[in-house]
Structure formats: C-alpha cells, structure tokens
C-alpha cells in the first residue's frame, strides 16, 4: 500500500512515495538513490545501515519509513561541511580504519553518535558502576570505544584502526569545542 512521506536527508527535503512495508533504509537506497547507508543484514544485526536519525545514531533496516514521516536524517555523505570531511571521517582516513568500505558509512555515523552520547555523559556497559558523572568524549578509552562501537560489525577486521580513529576524532572534537 503506497503512501507519501516527507524526509529531510543530508539537508535536502524529499517527498517520496513508499510502500507501507518499505524501511527507512530501502526508502533511502531504492526510492531516493541515497546509497551511503548500506544493507548488510537487514535485521539489525550488523550496523551497516546506521545513520543519524533526528540527531541520534540508529539502524534504519528495522524502521518503517511511514513511521518516520518528517524525520531528519544525516548519512555519512552529509556529515561534513560541503566537501570537507567530518573529523570522524578524516580520522578514519588517517588511521586506515576501513578496508572494503561497506560497513564504513555506518561505522562513521555510529562514531559521531558515540561522541554525542558521551558528551551527554551517557554510560556504556563497561563504564565503572556508580561513575556519577558518566563519561566525556575525551575520557573514552579503548574499552569504552570498542564497547560503544560494537553494534557495527566489520568483517575485514579494521577494529584495531577504528578505535584509535574514534579516539582521535574525540580529541579533535574536544579541541574544536574548546576554541
């Protein structure tokens, strides 16, 4: 059953006709031709389809597009300013935190989300119990980043480069914010 929805993707407004069964991911990829978010499992088991959905990192393969009428979506392609890469993306390039590149846009969006969540003091499963103030992006150590990034599988095995890339981006973001 077809229905029309509105989405704002990477700063651009779209009206798009979708089937009620169409996921946000398929709306982006198959209806709008926006293929930066990837389909790796289609069941929330790999994280390749991660975007920022109304500002938060979210998988899009299990989200029905009709339910997100009016949503604001940022894909990896829309993270940077113009042609300039987002600090997380630049860090991924610098650390060779990718190989085949298929999970990469999801990893990048997830990492941006991780930094935002840490900036809000959100704990993770490995945050010390009773850590009153939670955590900050600069305080993200290896275990924190690895745990928070574990929703993004990478079969090429770039994890040991992804973690330092996220740490470097956290540092760059903190410096940027301190200016």
């Amino acid at each position: 059953m077809e229905t029309e929805i509105r989405l704002r993707v990477d700063g651009q407004a779209y009206e798009v006709t979708v089937d009620t069964r169409t996921t946000v991911l398929d709306a982006l990829r198959e209806r709008l031709g926006i293929t930066s978010p990837k389909k790796g499992c289609d069941h929330g088991q790999c994280g390749s389809c991660t975007v920022l959905l109304d500002g938060r990192r979210a998988t899009t393969c299990l989200a029905l597009a009709v339910s997100y009428d009016g949503a604001e979506i940022t894909t990896a392609e829309g993270l940077g300013e113009g042609e300039e890469l987002h600090p997380v993306q630049q860090a991924f390039v610098d650390h060779d935190a990718l190989q085949c590149g298929y999970c990469t846009p999801g990893q990048v969006c997830s990492a941006v989300g991780v930094l935002r969540e840490a900036a809000q003091g959100w704990p993770s499963a490995v945050t010390e119990v009773g850590a009153e103030g939670g955590i900050s992006p600069e305080a993200l150590d290896h275990d924190e980043i690895a745990e928070r990034m574990s929703g993004n599988l990478c079969r090429c095995g770039a994890y040991v480069n992804i973690v330092p890339a996220v740490a470097a981006a956290a540092e760059a973001t903190a410096e940027g914010a301190g200016r």
């Binding site: 009620t20 069964r21 929330g44 990192r57 979210a58 299990l62 499963a125 929703g151």
Partner: protein, 342 residues
C-alpha cells in the same frame, strides 16, 4: 511481508480501540523486533497501529520513591537516566548490555518487554515451531539448543526470553501497566510473561488490543547495591547464554544477607525470578558456599537439553561471582566474604 495498512494513533485509548476491534491488527512501536518478524514471515498483521509517537515517553518519580517509566521511553534514555543509574544500577547495566547503541536509541521499554524469542527455529519459517505455528511441533527440542531453556520448559517449547532489561526489572519487582478495552490494569512482571506449557504461542498474559503504557518500579533503597552480569558468546552485541541480576540488602556487618532479589536470564521462557535462591540466602552470610547452595536450590529442577547442560554450572558460578562483586563493592576487605572460585 504481507501488505498492511498503517495508522498513526492519536491517543492510547484510540489505539486500543482500533486494535481490539480488528483481529489482524498489531501495535507498532519502534519496530526493532516486529519489522524483523514481518520480514521473516513470522507474523503478518494487516493493520499496524503506530503508537511510537504517543506521549508515553517520560520517566516520572512516584510518591513511594519509585519510578514510573513510560512505554515509549527509549532503552538508551532509560539506561542513562540519573535516577536509574543511581537507584537501580542493575537496570541501567542490563539495558546497556542489550543489543547495540543504535538499536537502544530506537527500542522502547514496552517493546523490549514484548521481544519474542530468538530461537533459531522460531525465526526460520521452514522449520516446525509451536510458538510460530501452533501444533507444528518443536524443532528445537531435539535440535540445536545452545541458547535454550533449562528451567520451566515444556515438551512443546524450550525457547528462552531474550530481554536483558526484563531480567533486571524482574529482580526489582516491576509492575507492568497496561490499557485494554476494559481499562487499565497492573500486572506484576513476574506474572506478565508465561511459561510455555502447551500454548507457547502466547508469550505474555496480554490480550489482543491491550497496550503496555508503562512500567512501575517500586522503591527499593537497597537496589543501589545491585548488578547485572551477562555471559555470552561475544564480548558485546550478543544474546545471553546466561544472565544474572542481583540486588542485595546486607546487614550492618556487610556480609549477612537481609534480603536478596535475584533474577536469571537466558535460561527460561520468561525472566526467571529466583525465589528459591533468595529464600536460601536470607539471613546467611553471603559466602561462596551459601551462594552456591542457593544457586543449586534454584536449579534443582533443571532439565538441560543436548547442547546446554553447561548453563546449570554457569548460572551457579555467575551468581556466585555477582554476589562476590556486590559484597566486595560495599566492603572490599570484608573478612570471610567470598574469595576465589572453585
């Protein structure tokens, strides 16, 4: 996925009325489990009533010092909520050990309670499954059972409930608040999920058209000393083999158990409140021995399957380890406390 109509609910009462009147209708929350099942062909509603934008998204203080959690509160927000982190750390930990960051940003409190089993045969429509297709048989019974039940199962179904959040809430004595065609009701979480018996297709006591609107957590001051431990096949982003939620109330000596709240995950068709273990520990010093005895009492009726006999000792050891951590947390040098492992 069968074609379906979609309606966005204007209010809870309207959503309930619509679904109750329509046998093929289902509520849609974040969809992280429902859409999964639609794709696999496990369920095929012809109308989805979207309740995800209903204003059931607040965590409120209750007069008794407890919390009321709206059904649409996202798992990520609940885990990070200051009141949950400080007063019910076991719940925050359980939430954070479930799924992934990007899923927790979507998944809701109500939806989490209604997660269906991850039994591989349930998820494969070409296999027999009494839960998915009543009367077709249980492929798991004589099949791959690494992730299956050791307690409370039946010859009709040996699946386990996958939620972490619900295990912590079970230990905390949570109450599920629902709105149905006949109005509101409160169901203790321990009575919310069912054991499979001969009707494993019914996961919970919810009736068609009944909507979860929230969860009440009673005040439980000693829950500041609480912990969730999830044991799994991967360090993160995997379902539990076994999980243990414990809240411990200790006497002033820092070692004698005044009261314990214990729930177990990954071992039964529902989050398993370990009342036998709680009773066994009451009044005793929390030593390795007493904990092990308590854990053994809880699993006395365990019926392991081909691949999951390890879960019984694993539950014992994990419970011992969690209590050891909790006792150590309050009084690191407590003499005679739990030390080492066997």
């Amino acid at each position: 996925m069968k074609p379906f109509r979609y309606e966005r609910a204007a209010d809870a009462a309207g959503a309930v009325a619509t679904v109750a009147a329509h046998p093929g209708a289902a509520f849609l929350g974040a969809g992280t489990n429902l859409v999964d099942h639609l794709k696999l062909g496990i369920t095929s509603p012809d109308l989805l009533v979207d309740v995800s934008r209903l204003p059931m998204d607040q965590v409120e203080e209750r007069a008794d010092g407890g919390l009321r959690i709206g059904a649409n509160v996202r798992n990520a927000d609940l885990a990070a909520h200051p009141a949950v982190r400080t007063r019910y750390p076991v719940l925050s930990q359980a939430l954070l050990s479930g799924a992934s960051g990007q899923l927790r940003n979507l998944a809701t409190t109500g939806g989490n309670l209604l997660q269906r089993t991850r039994c591989a045969y349930f998820q494969d429509p070409s296999s027999p499954c009494n839960k998915r297709d009543p009367g077709s048989g249980c492929a798991a019974l004589e099949g791959w059972t690494r992730y299956h039940a050791v307690l409370g199962a039946s010859s009709h179904c040996v699946a386990v409930h996958p939620s972490d959040m619900a295990v912590a809430m079970t230990a905390l004595g949570a109450v599920v608040v629902t709105l149905g065609p006949d109005g509101e009701r409160r169901v203790p979480l321990t009575e919310f999920h069912r054991l499979p018996g001969d009707a494993p297709h019914r996961d919970t006591v919810l009736r068609h058209g009944e909507l979860i609107t929230g969860v009440e957590l009673p005040a439980l001051p000693f829950a500041t000393r609480s912990r969730y431990r999830k044991v799994r096949d991967r360090a993160s982003y995997a379902f539990a083999l076994v999980s243990v939620a414990v809240a411990l109330d200790l006497e002033d000596d820092g070692r004698t158990v005044r009261e314990a709240r214990i729930a177990l995950g990954g071992i039964a068709h529902k989050p398993w409140r370990a009342e036998r273990a709680e009773a066994a520990l009451r009044g005793l010093p929390a030593t390795e021995e007493s904990c092990r005895t308590a854990a053994e009492a809880e699993t006395a009726d365990a019926h392991p399957l081909r691949d999951n006999a390890f879960k019984v000792p694993l539950v014992h050891n994990t419970l011992v380890a969690v209590v050891r951590d909790l006792v150590g947390q309050g009084a690191p040098e407590a003499p005679g406390g739990l030390e080492g492992s066997r």
